[in-house]
Structure formats: structure tokens, C-alpha cells
Symmetry: C2
Subunit: 232 residues, 2 copies
DNA sequence: CACAATATCTATCAATTGATAGAATTTCAA
DNA sequence: TTGAAATTCTATCAATTGATAGATATTGTG
């Protein structure tokens, strides 16, 4: 699946304007493009789509307003490009593990290994969310888009949320020794992943009162307890 | 100095303008005020501060633009008033239970009762978030404000988030038979509450694939398992 | 009723914002 | 080096938005 060509904007083949005539460009142009994309990710993540202005983005990218139009057509195109980049990076980061798990789920699997795999998957996500300050803005980007669905919702939903929840739910079922039915597993998958994403906005609050030390370990402990309790 | 006793906006004594000369008003005026506040809560909840326009709110409230200024000074004042209302309503809804729990925590408490109280507290929150479609927009309001802190952050943080997390953390500690230290309890509190708030934006997704039936029961089951596993 | 306080509403303003036109500059292959 | 393609940038536009002025209408009390 996926693995789509160069993957600019998988969906919505219509919206693009002329933006950058055609074919390839110069080296420096590609650099500018990256700079804009990076600045946009950060600002969209911090402020959401509406509150972010194209001028802010241009300034942070050390370029000017028309450059955004030149490379991305318009504000919404830039927004979608950010979503595409998030999806691509995430797939690069956990896609392999996810595929392995999916393959193993096709065969039968005992509860113990399901628990291990579930822990691997979720701790991977936790690290993705907590480790790099670069990914924090991305996580916020997703959070904004989920709180009020906009132009990037379909991309994020169909390529991150839905497959992620589905996979997690299947592992939860397998890890529970058949004690949890499919619908219950979905609910729990949403809750488990939600408990992780909530750390994004909750982190400053934790830090404010409890410090940042060992946060990751504490989170993984909590996850582990939750997973073990599935089969109980 | 505004000085209006009636707790319009607890914090920020500065920002208010004249907004509604002084003293009391007519009955019809108060009705309009409520209509505006309600419409604003809904639209701010759906779209966040920046994306919501005062014209939308005026229209949904079946009034006109200057009415917002008349009653709330400006857009930000209206936003803060929404936050105040959310806090007040929530306190009315779970404040009593929270006080009881706080009082009991002062004395010693065995793990079993702590577990029960924790379940009571969280299921109360779950119901608050899931039950009334009216509260959905409020929950989204909070979520928006947490994702990108704005004018209402301090109100919500100091009156909802912080005390809520603190109380939950204390109960978690008590329910764990001393197995969980304070910082770990704090992290788990954020995660538990986060798993509930994530249902707000996750709900449509759950519904899309698993239906809405019995959602509350499934959520409470998951909560119960989590709580029981604390002492294990 | 009268009349002051309160409330509503039309018209309009200034600032911000996304977008574009079109000139000027840079890149790089031949 | 040269020149066409690619990129950058200044100036400007039209639409949206929050806010206000000021005229008009409504309320309720004496």
C-alpha cells in the first residue's frame, strides 16, 4: 500500500495551482521549500490553521509572502503539505514495526506476544511524542486538526488515526485472551492512544509541578500496567 | 474598576470596558446575554478562538454585532466569559463530590475506598464529557485552549485542570497501596484524564466504525480495569 | 402617561490577511 | 560567457474581521 511515487499530496489532485512551473528546480529552491515547510509545521502546530498567518510563516522561514504561493499554491495547500510530511515521517518511523505486527496478526498469536507487541507499538508512539522537541509541534498539529477537522483531516484520519487505532485494537483483543470484544477493543485503543497524545499538551503542566525527569520511564510503566491488566 | 461582585470574570480586572453601563438591567437584556454566551460557547468550542468570528456568534445568537460589545466588551471578553461559565458549571456538577473526596483524603484511607472514590470521580467526568451534546462543545473548548493556550488558559488551568489532576493523583497514590510515588501518580493522572478527554474528538471516529451503543459502559469498564490494576 | 435607563440596530471604519501582478535577480547547463 | 528557466521580492488589491458611532427603539418605574 501507500508507497506512492513521490507523495506530494496523495489526495486532492485538483487543488494545486501552477506553483513552480513544472519538472525539477534548482538546489536552492528546494532548500527554500523545505524551510517554508518546516516553519509552517511549527507555526501551524503552535497556533492551528486559522490563527497562523502566512506572514508569520514567511518570516520564520526567512523568506517572503509570495514564496509560499510559489511553492504551495496557497495557505491550505501548505497546510496539507505539512500533513503529508507528518504522515510520511511517521510511516518512516513506525511503519516497519506496524507492518511486522500486521503480518503476525494474520497468523494466530498467543496473548503474551500480543502484549509484548502492543507495548512495543505504544512505547514507540510515546517516544515519538515525547522525545524530539521537533515532533512536539507535529503532535500539536494533529491535535488541532482533530479538535476541529479542517483541510488536513482526511489525510491524518485515513493514514494515521484509523490504521493506528485499528492495529492497536487488534493487539488489545489478542492480548486479552478473548476477554475483550471488538467494539470494546476499539474504545480502549482510542483511550490508550489518547492517554499518550494528552501528554503533549499535558507535558508543560506536568513539568511545572513534577519536573521533566524520567517522564518517559513513568509513562512506559503506566502503559505496561495497563497492558498487563488486559488479560487479568 | 468594574467592581461587579457578580463574578463576571474572576481574573483580569483590567480588560473590561464599559459594557452595559452598570448595576442591573432589564429581563430581556439578560436573556440576550445568555443567548450570546451560549452561542459563543458552541462556536468557540467548534472552531477555536481565532477561527470563530463575532459575526457567526451574533447570528447564531439571533442578534447583531454591537450586542457582543455591549455585553462583553470585546471578543476576548466573551471568550473569557465562556471559560468562566464552563468552570462554574463544572463546579456545580462535580464540585461537591470533589470536596467530599478532598476531605476524606485528609484522614487516612485504605486502598479499597480510594479505588471506589477514584472510580466515582472519573466516571463522573466521563459522563460529563459523553452524556450531553451540550457539554461536547464545552469539552472541545477546553481542548482547543489546551492545544494552544490563549486568553482563557489561566482560568481553565487554575480552576479545572490543576485541581482535577491533583485530586486524581492523590487518589491514585492512595489506591496503589503506596506502590506509586507522587510524580508517577501525577503522570498517571494526566494520562487517565487524557484518555477520557480524547474521547471527545475520538468519539465520532469510534461511532463511524463501532457505533455509539453502550459507549459509556465500555469506557467505564476500561476505567475500572485501570483502577484495579493500580494496586496489583 | 412620561421619561430616564436600558437595549437594539444600521452604517461605517481601520487593521489584518491571503493572494497576485509584475519587475528584478539568481541559477546553471550548454 | 550567455541566456532561458527558476526564484525572489516590492508594491498593491480585495475580502474579512473586530470594533465603534450614533440614531432608534424598548422597558419598566414613578
Amino acid at each position: 500500500m501507500s508507497s506512492d511515487m513521490t507523495s506530494k499530496s496523495a489526495l486532492s489532485p485538483s487543488s494545486a495551482r501552477q506553483m513552480r512551473a513544472s519538472a525539477q528546480g534548482y538546489k536552492k529552491g528546494e532548500e527554500t521549500r523545505r524551510r517554508i515547510l518546516s516553519a509552517a509545521s511549527e507555526i501551524f502546530g503552535e497556533r492551528g490553521f486559522a490563527s497562523a498567518t502566512t506572514r508569520m510563516i514567511a518570516q520564520k522561514a526567512e523568506t517572503n509572502l509570495p514564496a509560499l504561493t510559489y511553492y504551495f499554491g496557497n495557505k491550505e495547500g501548505l497546510y496539507r503539505a505539512c500533513a503529508d510530511e507528518i504522515v510520511a515521517d511517521y510511516h518512516k518511523s513506525v511503519g516497519q514495526l506496524a507492518e511486522q505486527i500486521a503480518a503476525m496478526l494474520a497468523t494466530n498469536m498467543d496473548a503474551k506476544t500480543a502484549q509484548t507487541l502492543l507495548f512495543d507499538l505504544l512505547s514507540n508512539l510515546a517516544r515519538f511524542l515525547l522525545t524530539s522537541p521537533d515532533t512536539e509541534s507535529r503532535a500539536l498539529f494533529i491535535q488541532h486538526e482533530m479538535a476541529s477537522p479542517g483541510a488536513a483531516f482526511e489525510i491524518l484520519y485515513s493514514q494515521l488515526w484509523n490504521p493506528g487505532i485499528a492495529l492497536t485494537a487488534m493487539l488489545i483483543r489478542a492480548a486479552s485472551n478473548g476477554k475483550i470484544d471488538e467494539r470494546a477493543a476499539w474504545v480502549r485503543a482510542v483511550m490508550m492512544i489518547g492517554s499518550l497524545t494528552s501528554l503533549i499538551s499535558g507535558r508543560p503542566i506536568i513539568t511545572r509541578t513534577a519536573g521533566d525527569h524520567d517522564l518517559e520511564i513513568l509513562v512506559l510503566d503506566a502503559l505496561n500496567d495497563q497492558i498487563l491488566s488486559l488479560a487479568r
